[in-house]
């Protein structure tokens, strides 16, 4: 890894341009495909709204993982911190409104983050087992708390809270008036583009906007402030940082508090915007998916966002309209075919076969069945994530010491 490549971490404009270019290309291809197959819209106003709502909690978990791991601590406990966020968010929210939900949920996540730092940074136990145990602890604790709180109030039970109020939604003025006619006109590509803009700019929850704002904020703090520089240094060379007077545990405590707080916010999002009550098991593994997006996103907030959007988009497709998933698969098949073609032109016959055969199989299979069985649709988001990762060969480089406890004088 040369020094010339290293500064690529962060958010260089050239890098971002590539991503934006790919996203736009993907959009155009999929938009044309859905027209060709006469399938229901892949891009609809409601679908984009749903994408945002599905992506936001995953993105928050992803950013949480990013903060933790950039400081050199693995946080498998994100799921548990998110669970804590859902419970405390709902508990405060149904009594005192959304503001209280926000504070309580984030505080609960932060508290769990602090416990995680106490265990892994101060005591120095295995970071994975601390995280796994915190997940168990959060699940058990919230259930216990439900029995003494929700179960005793009308509208609640040992697994469900009373209804929680929602954050207000905003729409950008004029967007609806200008773009809704284009969306309805069914012009190829243009209508889909209008739908995307409509979905992104109308009826968006205030909390969603806040979540989106956290991405540049995270980037700015971690890459443009002294605090961020030190925090990342702690995740790469704790001994060096320590010898320069930057105390690793201090930054790790900070990073894990933020990490837990973000996951807790994800929990609040689930009980207010994504639905409007607490329900046991509601996080449904979103913390783990968030953990995956940070690897997908190469520990960079911008690509973590792309990762959670891909997952959220596919999840929205399969949840709203199972049939659309077939079109998506064909799109992936075409993508593989393009890669195969390029490999073939470069006389890399092995690579060409590696991509060409599955591509042909995928497209041929869809031609025959036309409808993807529901059982297989269920894992569309996961398969898409996996395939996108496989196609987009990338140099993944985690922060150097993730998973290792820092003990002064421990190393030779």
């Amino acid at each position: 890894m040369t020094a010339a490549r290293m500064p690529a971490f962060g958010a260089p404009p050239s890098w971002l341009r590539v991503v934006v270019g790919r996203v736009v290309l993907g959009f155009v291809v999929l938009s044309l495909l859905s027209g060709a197959f006469d399938a229901p819209d892949l891009f609809s106003r409601g679908g984009i709204g749903a994408t945002l709502r599905f992506s936001a909690p995953i993105l928050l978990a992803g950013l949480g993982a990013l903060w933790a791991e950039r400081s050199g601590v693995l946080n498998i406990g994100l799921e548990g911190m998110m669970i804590a966020g859902t419970w405390f968010g709902a508990w405060a929210g149904y009594q005192w409104g959304v503001g209280a939900a926000l504070v309580a949920g984030v505080a609960a996540g932060t508290a769990f983050g602090l416990v995680h730092s106490l265990l892994t940074v101060s005591i120095g136990i295995d970071q994975a087992i601390s995280g796994l145990s915190l997940n168990l602890l959060a699940a058990g604790l919230t259930r216990f708390l439900s029995t003494i709180t929700f179960a005793t109030v009308p509208g609640g039970s040992i697994t469900t809270s009373p209804p929680v109020p929602d954050f207000p939604t905003l729409s950008l003025p004029l967007v609806d008036a200008l773009l809704a006619p284009i969306d309805r006109a069914n012009v190829p590509i243009l209508s889909d583009a209008a739908a995307v803009v409509l979905g992104l700019l109308t009826d968006v929850s205030v909390l969603t906007i806040g979540v989106v704002a956290l991405v540049p904020l995270t980037w700015w703090i971690l890459w443009r402030t002294r605090l961020g520089l030190r925090l990342r240094a702690v995740g790469e060379r704790p001994e060096a940082a320590d010898s320069l007077g930057v105390r690793p545990w201090r930054y790790r405590y900070l990073a894990l508090s933020v990490s837990g707080g973000l996951a807790g916010l994800g929990g609040v999002y689930l009980v207010t915007v994504a639905s409007s009550l607490y329900r046991e098991g509601q996080t449904a593994g979103r913390g783990f998916i968030g953990l995956a997006t940070v690897i997908f996103g190469n520990w960079n907030p911008w690509s973590v966002t792309v990762g959670s959007l891909i997952f959220g988009f596919t999840d929205a497709l399969r949840t709203r309209q199972e049939v659309t998933v077939g079109v998506l698969l064909v799109g992936l098949g075409l993508l593989a075919a393009v890669v195969a073609l390029r490999r073939g032109l470069g006389h890399d016959w092995r690579g060409a076969t590696l991509f060409g055969v599955p591509a042909a199989a995928l497209v041929a299979w869809f031609w025959v069945v036309h409808v993807v069985p529901a059982e297989l649709v269920s894992f569309a988001p996961h398969l898409t994530t996996l395939l996108v990762l496989a196609f987009a060969r990338q140099r993944i480089r985690p922060p150097a010491v993730v998973g290792e406890p820092f003990r002064r004088g421990d190393r030779p």
């Binding site: 439900s146 509208g155 040992i158 639905s275 329900r279 098991g281 449904a284 529901a374 269920s378």
Partner: protein, 344 residues
């Protein structure tokens, strides 16, 4: 036997908890009823109680029976990674601790119960939602969910203005497919033109679909965007999300198991057209009733429209105008004129 020695401290501990107010309802220390059932236990599947639906209703039936008899009622719950051995051991522990009427909820208990029932011939067992256990001391409690679903399907077929209705199931299980099959049949019987869109929120063994309101809500929003105007939410805890979507977009939804109109807040209940009632309390109550008498008839006991096991709710008065037609369908189902399919 250690187990016998265990019994009394356990009861004492149970009482302490009950006195501390941690258990809803009271345990009566002085049995006044029949001597045949002294202690009742329910073993739930992984979802457990507090689902606002099926398990809670099953509990209500057992609770009422326990109060009638003045005996203790104990609840235990399974875990996701339970093997048959774990479940068998759970039942064994209950039976060995003096629980003499034991209700196991869910088909996952079928194999374990078959084994344990033979080991404790004096204990009366019941399994809910399964019809394969054969033992002289066991009831198989089945519900004709398809019959009740047929009626709410007919209501949807009659009420739709877009000729397009939806079904959202929690997890694609045979049990929930019975709901789907009955619903679709009801829709088509009442409105041959109508189309039914079907989706399940998750696939086994991913049971997240039972407790994931966000996915319930988005699935419903997707259907409503696509021209559906009534959705039957056979989705457990995720159903709350479906009802929320209905209220948000001003459409109808249909509840399941309980009369959900009574459970939801005012802003949402005005969008709950009706609910498919699965009165699991009838099954558990009757079982305990029979277990405490000398006449115990083992085997399959089916609860359908004919004996009040299933039905539809009229709360809110939204189906009052078509009640006569729905009741006519009910009569035809009971008489056998209409045979409702159990698989889609």
């Amino acid at each position: 036997m250690h187990v016998r020695r265990l019994t009394w401290p356990l009861v004492a501990a149970g009482l302490v908890v009950a006195l501390a107010g941690c258990v809803t309802g009271q345990t009566s220390p002085s049995p006044v009823g029949s001597p045949r059932v002294h202690k009742i236990a329910i073993a739930y599947d992984i979802s457990g109680r507090g689902d606002g639906g099926f398990n809670d209703i099953a509990y209500n039936g057992a609770r009422r029976a326990a109060d009638d008899l003045g005996v203790e009622l104990k609840e235990v719950t399974a875990k996701l990674d339970d093997t048959d051995d774990d479940r068998a051991e759970r039942l064994r522990l209950l039976a060995g601790s003096g629980y003499d009427a034991i209700i196991a909820v869910g088909f996952t208990y079928a194999t374990p119960l078959q084994k344990v029932a033979a080991e404790f011939p004096k204990v009366k067992f019941a399994i809910v939602d399964d019809g394969t256990v054969t033992a002289p001391n066991a009831w198989d409690i089945l519900f004709a969910e398809q019959e009740g679903s047929f009626l709410v399907g007919a209501a949807a077929g009659l009420k739709t203005t877009t000729d397009s209705v939806g079904f959202i199931g929690a997890v694609q299980l045979p049990l929930l497919q019975k709901f789907e099959a009955g619903y679709a049949a009801g829709v088509h019987a009442a409105n041959p033109k109508a189309r039914v869109q079907v989706t399940y929120l998750s696939q086994p063994p991913d049971y997240s679909g039972f407790g994931d309101p966000p996915h319930g809500k988005e699935a419903a929003l997707g259907m409503y965007d696509n021209g559906v105007d009534i959705i039957f939410a056979a989705a457990g805890g995720s159903g709350a999300g479906v009802h929320e979507a209905a209220a948000q977009t001003n459409h109808w939804s249909i509840g399941v198991d309980a009369d959900e109109w009574k459970l939801e807040p005012a802003t949402i209940r005005d969008h709950i057209l009706t609910s498919m009632l699965k009165n699991s309390n009838v099954g558990t109550h009757r079982f305990i009733g029979e277990a405490s008498t000398s006449s115990f008839t083992p085997g399959i006991h089916t609860f359908g429209l004919a004996n009040g096991g299933v039905g539809y709710a009229t709360s809110g008065g939204f189906v009052d105008d078509i009640k006569a037609r729905l009741d006519a369908y009910a009569v035809d189902i009971v008489s056998g004129k209409i045979v409702v399919p159990q698989t889609p």
